[in-house]
Assembly symmetry: C2
Homo-oligomer: 104 residues x 2
DNA sequence: CCTGTTACTACATTTTATGTAGCGATTCAT
DNA sequence: ATGAATCGCTACATAAAATGTAGTAACAGG
């Protein structure tokens, strides 16, 4: 069992590694935009609002390394089983964000 | 009811604004480190691994603007009621991250 | 061969974060 | 009243990360 070092995570605690990964620019948006169906590289790039291909590719590579996303040449990028589990944990955010917006 | 424009969010959809806010560097970590008790500025800075005071202050200001965090001069920085609600949604991540780490 | 699509890379410019020092206010002991 | 300690926070030069634009290589169909 190999432990990979992740940016900003000195502890090796999974939660820290996860928060670090998810806290990188565009990562949450990428996962979110993959919630319904597989997406092509350019499609994904457009959906998240036109981030540079450089960074889209870098993030997708990180997400693939984390086994949350995979690339099917036929269909495009999509969430792995693991990625879908993570997404499910995030779904309550959608509803809550509406409440939050009203409170602002 | 005023809608604030948030970086990367052209839609005005709360979920996008939220994902954008949470996706900024150190934000998830800051919220996480406030999960148990109020923390002082420097204490918080140390807990998240020594980010520069410049950026810690910038993020805390954003979190205060978002009404997720507040500063009590007596006790330090702490989550607002809203912030605590958000944290509760994140708690399942802790357990899941252990499973995820094993899958890597 | 030409055209279009795919994912992706190169690289100069711009934006963001870091690291270090220090400020102004407050509290507390001498 | 003076000096030390702590508080949140700012200034600013350096370093790292993201952007924007162009372009590459691989493949498909006409």
């Amino acid at each position: 069992m190999v432990k990979k070092k992740v940016r900003g995570s000195t502890s090796g605690r999974p939660i820290m590694a996860l928060l670090d990964l998810l806290g990188r620019r565009w990562v949450l948006r990428l996962v979110w935009e993959l919630r319904e169906e597989p997406r092509r590289f350019r499609e994904l790039q457009a959906l998240i609002g036109g981030a540079s291909p450089t960074i889209v590719n870098a993030r997708l590579r990180e997400l693939r390394a984390a086994k949350l996303v995979e690339l099917d040449p036929e269909a495009g990028y999509r969430l792995t089983a693991l990625g879908q589990e993570l997404l499910k944990l995030f779904l309550p955010l959608h509803l809550w964000s509406e409440k939050w917006a009203k409170a602002l």
